[in-house]
């Protein structure tokens, strides 16, 4: 970690108040993103991967609250006022959402939705904003961009809408893009195109990217580092090649075993991790993964393992050190 981190999340806890009581969607989570790097955040639905970053950007639902710190260039995003936060959102930190079908405003033209970002953050004229929007649409390879500016979102395909979302995120030249499941709602072929585009953005603009996904294949193709989340906590984190080649946490190991590989022998049934992700309202006292873990010890059920460094920028939250190399 040579350079100072761009975003440093420190002891973040995200709590939701529901009719059934309070639920910690994210517990005591710390991570950082350096300038220009791509951090993959992987986990099942409900593991808290999206809410971590929603909380950092002040986008939690009304019943959610965040504790801890989220330092961006030294400013704690969690304590900033609305105006200061709005000056950062969409300008220095941009977000791309999962569902391009519903994430654009249906009653505004693509051109207006793009332009308003520049008009708001840069104070440019409408004509100038339109011009820059056009350039950005060309850059993300939207065909026939001039015509698209006058179109409404429902007149575009899912892939094109996601390109518009990406163009919108890039307009102000952000230092950090948070992409929340950017390819999940898309066809497989379109997924590949969008991932190529994100890779190009990362490589040419040196923008830091947080890639939130449940798809390990997406992480492998794009991320420098990966954080694996389970039940609101990071269970393993480190360099993506190292983690994938030599996973140290039983959950990571299970996830990787679940992923079908082109180069592996076809042996019939796919591997699955037994059991279900835990209900966050009733977490076990010890390790949240213990009930599903093949390598579980008695101690796992009593004490929650802390995330500890393994050297070389690797971390894991598991008390077992004797696990053999993944087979």
């Amino acid at each position: 970690m040579g350079s100072a981190p761009l975003l440093h999340i420190d002891n973040l806890t995200v709590k939701f108040t529901t009719a059934d009581g309070a639920v910690d969607a994210v517990s005591d989570l710390s991570l950082h993103i350096s300038p220009g790097e791509c951090l993959g955040v992987v986990g099942e639905s409900g593991s808290g991967k999206s809410q971590t970053f929603m909380a950092a950007l002040g986008l939690l639902a009304a019943n959610g609250s965040a504790r801890g710190r989220a330092l961006f260039h030294g400013d704690d995003l969690l304590t900033l006022g609305d105006n200061e936060l709005n000056a950062i959102r969409g300008d220095k930190v941009a977000m791309i959402f999962q569902d391009p079908m519903t994430s654009l405003t249906p009653h505004m033209t693509v051109g207006r939705q793009l332009s308003e970002v520049l008009i708001h953050h840069r104070g440019v004229s409408a004509a100038r904003a339109r011009e820059e929007s056009l350039v950005m649409l060309k850059r993300v390879r939207v065909p026939d961009p001039e015509r698209r500016l006058a179109m409404y979102p429902h007149e575009l395909s899912g892939g094109l809408r996601q390109r518009v979302m990406i163009a919108m995120a890039l307009l102000c030249g952000p230092e950090l893009i948070i992409a929340d499941e950017p390819t999940t709602a898309l066809d497989v072929t379109v997924q590949a195109q969008i991932l190529d585009l994100l890779r190009e953005v990362k490589d040419t603009l040196h923008t830091a990217v947080v890639l939130i996904t449940h798809d390990l294949g997406v992480i492998a193709g794009l991320a420098d580092r990966v954080a694996v989340m389970y039940a609101g906590r990071i269970v393993e984190m480190g360099d993506v090649r190292q983690v994938f080649a030599d996973p140290r946490h039983p959950y990571t190991r299970g996830l990787l075993a679940c992923t079908p590989r082109m180069d592996a022998a076809v042996t019939g049934a796919l591997f699955t991790i037994p059991g279900q992700p835990p209900n966050l309202e009733h977490l076990p006292a010890g390790c949240a993964f213990a009930p599903r873990c093949a390598s579980v010890l008695d101690a796992c059920r009593n004490d929650r393992p802390a995330l500890r460094g393994l050297g070389g920028g690797r971390f894991k939250a598991c008390i077992r050190d004797d696990l053999a190399h993944a087979s």
């Binding site: 709005n86 959102r89 959402f97 519903t102 994430s103 405003t105 009653h107």
Partner: protein, 311 residues
């Protein structure tokens, strides 16, 4: 869009015909007749009266005559207001009712929508409950009570202050005379619009694209007005269609309380007096208003949501 609306206007003709037909025969089914309410008249006079208004002919002939006259724009003579035709009565009363209704409509929209938005963006806070509680009070008090209360307050108690307002009469449409009836007519509509707006705005603010707009760093005020309002207004516009028709065709209660020479009172008086032609006249005016406002609502849908297709 053009052909769609041309078709809608054409479809309106059989709709109107059906309303006229049903109304015509329902009126005749009701017991009694236009001349029963008065002191009994000699048999010869009654025969003459019935002949004068063609009531001695068969119902079918009367019906066809009525349709024929209507096609020429003649609503026929009033049975009760004997010196007037129904056309004259409507021509005198409708402008008063429509102007008062229009003022009330403007008040309802201008006050109801912002109140609803205000409550929605402070959902479940004290201010939300305060606004909505006040609104509930507005809707549970009947118009004939609020009307008299307004008269008591602004017409009597504040008589010697600058807030004094005339307690009634149209006075040729003088502005001070218009305020109380318009306020009173608008009150339940303000409340309903506020409640609909609150609900639909809360719903609209939950949409995914609102999260996108917030993530873009737009101030919340812009997120609400630019990205959520149009979606939130769709249910309001749906309600405003029939509400506008209702407001423009006058209110019996308001026109009685404030002594306005509108057509609202004809709905009730006409029916009580078995004034067949007058009831038909005001019913047709209402029907046309409902059909026209519904058409207008459909145009507004297209403006609020570009995904609406007219074909």
């Amino acid at each position: 869009m053009g052909p769609y609306f041309a078709r809608r206007v054409v479809i309106a003709i059989p709709t109107l015909w059906a309303i006229i037909t049903v109304c015509f025969f329902l009126m005749r089914l009701a017991p009694g007749g236009p001349f029963d309410a008065q002191a009994p008249v000699p048999q010869e006079i009654l025969v003459n009266l019935r002949a004068r208004y063609h009531l001695d002919q068969s119902l079918a002939v009367q019906y066809l005559d009525y349709l024929g006259n209507l096609a020429r724009g003649d609503f026929g003579p009033s049975f009760k207001y004997k010196d007037f035709t129904v056309t004259e009565l409507i021509a005198q009363g409708l402008p008063v009712s429509a102007q008062n209704g229009l003022c009330a409509l403007l008040l309802a929209v201008v006050l109801g929508i912002p109140a609803g938005i205000f409550a929605a963006i402070r959902q479940n806070s004290f201010r939300d409950h305060a606004v909505m509680g006040l609104a509930m009070t507005g809707i549970v008090i009947p118009t004939f009570v609020t009307g008299h209360l307004f008269i008591l307050i602004f017409g009597v108690w504040l008589r010697d202050t600058m807030f004094h307002l005339p307690a009634g009469t149209w006075n040729g449409g003088a502005w001070p005379n218009r305020i109380l009836p318009a306020m009173c007519l608008a009150l339940p509509f303000i409340v309903t619009i506020a409640r609909i707006t609150r609900g639909s705005m809360i719903e609209a603010l939950r949409a995914n694209h609102i999260r996108t707009a917030r993530a873009k760093g737009l101030p919340f005020r812009l997120v609400v007005t630019r990205h959520a309002l149009k979606t939130a207004l769709i249910p309001v516009v749906t309600y405003l269609g029939p509400a506008t028709a209702l407001l423009l065709t006058g209110s019996m209660v308001i026109e009685t309380v404030f002594q306005l020479p509108g057509i609202g009172r004809y709905f009730v008086q006409g029916a009580l007096n078995r004034d067949y032609t007058l009831v038909m006249g005001v019913t047709i005016i209402s029907a046309v208003a409902v059909i026209a406002t519904n058409l207008l609502v459909d145009v507004l849908y297209g403006f609020l949501d570009p995904r609406v297709r007219y074909d």
